[in-house]
Amino acid sequence: MAILDRMTERATRRLAQGTSRRSLLTALGGILVGATGLPLLPVARASGGAGSGYPGVLPQSTGDPQDPGDPASCDYWRYCGIDGFLCSCCGGSASACPPGTEMSPITWIGSCRNPADNRNYIISYNDCCGLTSCGRCMCNRNESDLPMYRPSANNDTNWCLNTKSSVYTCSTAVIIGYAMDEEKK
């Protein structure tokens, strides 16, 4: 499977090379590492158009115009600090773990701006645990990520803590609040 992943990754990288220097940089930037860190499928971030950005992953929609974008795409607004496989691509959703796993009760918290209502939402990146790595839709974005000495802002950590199994499966991005100050502005 990984061979296939890498082949598609190379293909997407070639595609990116054909476009512009900026998109090439974005594409290569996608190699990131993450906590879980991996070479991420590059076009995912560069895309933003139709399709999930991951070859072989069908597009999704929340159906709610206030929650825009594709939860099976790395550039979905809630994923601004995510690091891992998108649970949306693994049988779960942006806010639900796949069947057979357990959601980690503790994790790191970031904030992402929702382009539809322009609010800054507090996002909890709960990991799902107990099955082997999902492997689909690797996505690593590091807005507001800080090193491990600030664990509550760190996505390099395996957050499968206080779960029956610490085996990492995939990552969610759950809305747990929004910035009140932003609301007043």
Binding site: A2, L28, V33, G34, C80, S133, G135
Partner: protein, 387 residues
């Protein structure tokens, strides 16, 4: 099957025609034949830690020779579930701190330090780590460190309560667990002590007795400007100086050789002009050094908030003493982690975008070869055998 039979038939037939050229057949070879390695590895060898994010249960540590033009792949050992790794230089042993479940992804959790013989790469012993608390993260060199001339090992725990377990590697027993609330990872300090980076911008330091018990504790002043220009947690050492670097390219030297860590005077990798062009260090393991006193940094252009792990296209080389840039290597392929060997003719290894290892002459920057062939899924950290 028929095709195979045909090929066998053809080779037997043509073999007869060539027998005159080779009067003696090839010698009979023994089975039960397993390769071994030398007890001490040349300084051109590196350990490449594959976290294998696509199946974290099954990570490994590859042993590679960067100088080789053949037989570059020497062997590997397992390192499961965000494993950490140490190689001893005072005895022929390798150590992996790892985690397993009795039923692969479920059942009883076992955390252990597994001890491998450096020549056979066979498991020779293990030390069970109590409490199921070994910290698991993307590979960090400073989650597992030697102390007291490799007699002790320190292991970082995270539950999310942070602590350090002190292990006697010679007696193979657990000595102590030291809470380090609000702090992370392990930086050996002095003869028998360690420091740790804290979320308030300080470094906390502990001195230990031979039994692993804490005998003293101090904190540095606040020197890590976490909210504006945080330190990466990676280091490299030249002489008595341990080097950190910040997200924006400020070098933070530290003297960790005395009883307590001393915060050195900072300097910048980037000029104002380069800063304006967005140059800064970026990637996972972003710095290294050689035995000649040069520092190497993986650099990215056009950075933006959140690009600190995106890797980079150049390696900038600085003379540690003069703080002057002495070379700027443009990489063949964008890289996420680097390591430099410690020999007289150092090699620069760079994990590239395809998760292969590009090998460069560290001094000239010339690309020599690429070690690939799908040996690993996600290499994050490399460790030079001599460093």
């Amino acid at each position: 099957m028929r095709a195979i039979a045909l090929i066998l038939g053809l080779s037997l037939f043509s073999g007869g025609a060539l027998a005159a050229d080779f009067p003696e057949p090839l010698p009979i070879e023994p089975t039960d034949n397993v390769a071994t390695l030398p007890a001490s590895y040349p300084d051109s060898w590196i350990y490449a830690m594959d976290g294998n994010f696509y199946s974290v249960l099954d990570g490994k540590v590859l042993i590679l020779d960067l100088a080789a033009t053949s037989h570059e792949f020497k062997g590997y050992i397992g390192a499961g579930q965000f494993g950490s790794f140490l190689a001893a230089s005072t005895r022929p042993e390798l150590y992996v701190a790892e985690t397993y479940y009795s039923r692969r992804v479920s059942g009883e959790r076992t955390d252990a330090i597994v001890i491998y013989d450096k020549q056979s790469l066979k498991k020779k012993a293990e030390i069970i780590l109590p409490g199921g608390k070994r910290g698991q993260s993307v590979t960090q060199k400073h989650s597992f460190q030697f102390l007291d001339n490799e007699r002790l090992a320190l292991i970082f725990n995270f539950t999310p309560a942070a602590s350090v377990t002190v292990v006697d590697l010679v007696e193979r027993k657990i000595l102590n667990e030291i809470p380090i609330p609000g702090c992370s990872l392990i930086y050996p300090t002095g003869k028998l002590g360690f420091s740790t980076l804290c979320g308030n911008g300080t470094m906390a330091a502990f001195t230990l007795g031979a039994n692993g018990k804490v005998t003293g504790e101090q904190r540095t002043k606040k020197f890590n400007d976490i909210d504006n220009n945080p330190l990466f947690m990676k280091t490299t050492k030249v002489g008595n100086t341990t080097y950190f670097v910040t997200f924006l390219g400020t070098v933070q030297p530290m003297d960790m050789t005395g009883t307590w860590p001393k915060v050195g005077k900072t300097w910048s990798l980037v000029s104002e002009e380069e800063k304006a062009a967005g140059w800064r260090p970026g990637g996972w393991h972003i710095l290294s050094s050689d035995a000649q006193g040069r520092l190497y940094f993986l650099m990215q252009e056009k950075s933006y908030p959140g690009s600190h792990k995106d890797g980079g296209g150049e390696v900038w080389v600085f003379d540690a003493k003069s703080k002057k840039r002495v070379a700027r290597h443009v990489l063949k392929t964008h890289a996420i982690s680097i390591e430099v060997t410690r020999g007289a003719a150092p090699y620069l290894a760079a994990v590239n975008a395809n998760m292969e290892i590009d090998v460069y002459d560290a001094v000239s920057g010339q690309h020599l070869r690429t070690i690939g062939g799908n040996p690993a899924q996600t290499i994050f950290v490399m460790q030079a055998s001599g460093g």
